[in-house]
Symmetry: C2
Subunit: 340 residues, 2 copies
């Protein structure tokens, strides 16, 4: 019982700095999408909003090809198969995840969607957060780059975001002392009281720098923000410190990133900065998901969703990531799960 | 037959930027230094001048305590034991290396000087270059940080300096394609014709940036200079690239280092910047020296000394490092080896 038309949101123009009202444009199209033999038609239920999406709309992209003008905006999401090509094995009604984009319906190669089996006690939306790319980023960043040891001082920036909130909790599980950096007192309270951070710092506080200096030497820094906070942490590195560069949200809207001043400390402290992309660890996703699922079900990994309703809200919601307007995982609800 | 007086050079004032005529001051003192039971008196023959010495005279030092105002300037050197305390095992006449400072005579704890046995075919001065901290820095930087593999593209900056010149040659030995960056056409010629660099770039050339871009994606960068060249290389990283931060000579005179703009490429390229200090690998020095000695004796590792005569020339000679006035290893000849 699919509708006659569907909506999608395409890239209309490339913003110089912050996302503008003219950056995206909504389109309504007839729903005449027919899956080929190896394709499925997916009705999108949820969309994930992530900082890296800002890089997709640059002329010169980051690790992925830029979204072209007029193309559907790229994003991960959840959905349900509503029609399946003759050579596919996904049944109609199957819950799936994939890079569906900002659209109510997406025609996808069956090989490019992942079927999802929700563990008892979890919910589908967890596959956009703790069990999705956010949780996996926290997991592999700490595991592959940071080599975090019990008793070490771990700093996590963007700590109230989707990746940061998981990184804080995995850090506590690993026996580290966890210092969280976030952008409001409410977020700091949540990090300390709900997520177990030993101390949370509001970087918008006028005393932030002097407060943070009291942390002393940092062993591991899980960085989601880049910019000034990265530069500050560089001035407080312990010997052999490791910095995992997961993201640099403070810089994504900048046409020219603010330069790092304090990198010479990497020499005297024999320290490293290393970037990573979790796609490189895809073979290990099942093991990681198993551990993350365990934490989710036993309550040792908690989270919070910031839910925005309606596809057409996606552009303004995306800006929340850069203004610090969300706590936890920012998602857009596109539709209820269709009854098939 | 020691003289009645000796000269030394002490720190007189801390420079803001470049080293000034008032930064150091020469002193003449009576040579009444008597070694205690566990000490030796060393007559200094050669002094090594190194970029890191700029950090020793900052108020806030790098990896070592700053030299205090009025103290002898710290430097490594070679010398000969001219008097030995009753509980030392170094015979008078023994060739030694150590942190003697800018002085004609130094009273040293015997445990803090290294006896040197010059291999047949080598000379004492090699212990300030290929077999000294310069050669060891090149060796351990490449071995411990870079994990250089045959066929990879290696870039070395400060390539005509003491560390860089060895790094280029070890890179060739490891099977890499070596791109050298130096500050004059003469240096580039030397690197290409004598040291085997596949291509050398003069960073003072007006077409340097466009020329260097033709190198394409860089697998390993052995960085001695920091600053703009580091930022340029950051924009040309291959996936999984490794940058060994050995030094940042372009920034040592700066009160505020120039910021790195292009560090976000570390994420998309899954790359790292890592600093190192060779003192962490002291246990492996003998093995490294054995390999370096082999290269020195079979001619596969060459070098060039830039010799300045006379202790009193040390301050102005030190500035050569920062103006690019030296090719190869910069040393000061303080005295002939005493006949004892």
């Amino acid at each position: 019982m699919t509708p006659a038309n569907y909506k999608r949101i395409v890239l209309n123009s490339r913003p110089e700095g912050e996302i503008e009202p003219t950056t995206f444009r909504a389109e309504t199209l007839p729903l005449d999408l027919k899956p080929g033999a190896d394709e499925v038609l997916v009705q999108v239920t949820w969309m994930s909003l992530d900082p890296a999406m800002r890089s997709y709309i640059r002329e010169k992209g980051g690790y992925m090809a830029p979204v072209k003008i007029g193309e559907v905006m790229r994003s991960n999401g959840l959905g349900v198969v509503v029609q399946a090509g003759s050579q596919t094995t996904h049944p109609v009604g199957q819950l799936v995840a994939g890079s569906f984009g900002w659209t109510e319906f997406a025609l996808m190669k069956a090989a490019e969607v992942q079927t999802i089996t929700v563990p008892k006690g979890a919910e589908p939306l967890d596959f956009l957060y703790t069990l999705g790319l956010s949780g996996l980023s926290a997991y592999f960043g700490l595991k592959k780059i940071c080599d975090l040891k019990p008793g070490e001082k771990l700093v996590v920036s963007g700590a109230a975001g989707s990746v940061g909130s998981i990184a804080c909790q995995l850090g506590k599980q690993a026996g580290a002392t966890v210092y969280a950096i976030a952008g409001s007192q409410d977020k700091c309270d949540w990090l300390e009281t709900e997520l177990g951070a030993d101390k949370a710092f509001n970087y918008k506080s006028p005393t932030f720098v002097e407060d943070f200096k009291k942390v002393g030497y940092v062993d591991v820094y899980f960085d989601n923000v880049g910019g000034d906070i990265l530069d500050l942490v560089l001035s407080q590195l312990n010997k052999g410190a490791r910095i995992a560069l997961c993201g640099a949200i403070s810089q994504y809207n900048a046409s020219k990133p603010k330069g790092l001043q304090n990198y010479l400390s990497l020499i005297s402290q024999r320290a490293k900065i290393e970037g990573f992309l979790i796609f490189d660890y895809a073979a290990e996703f099942p093991v990681a998901r198993e551990e993350l699922t365990k934490g989710l079900l036993d309550g040792s990994i908690k989270g919070k969703f910031h839910i925005v309703e309606g596809l057409e809200q996606a552009p303004s919601a995306l800006s929340l990531l850069f203004s610090g307007g969300n706590t936890g995982k920012l998602v857009v609800k596109v539709s209820d799960e269709p009854k098939l």
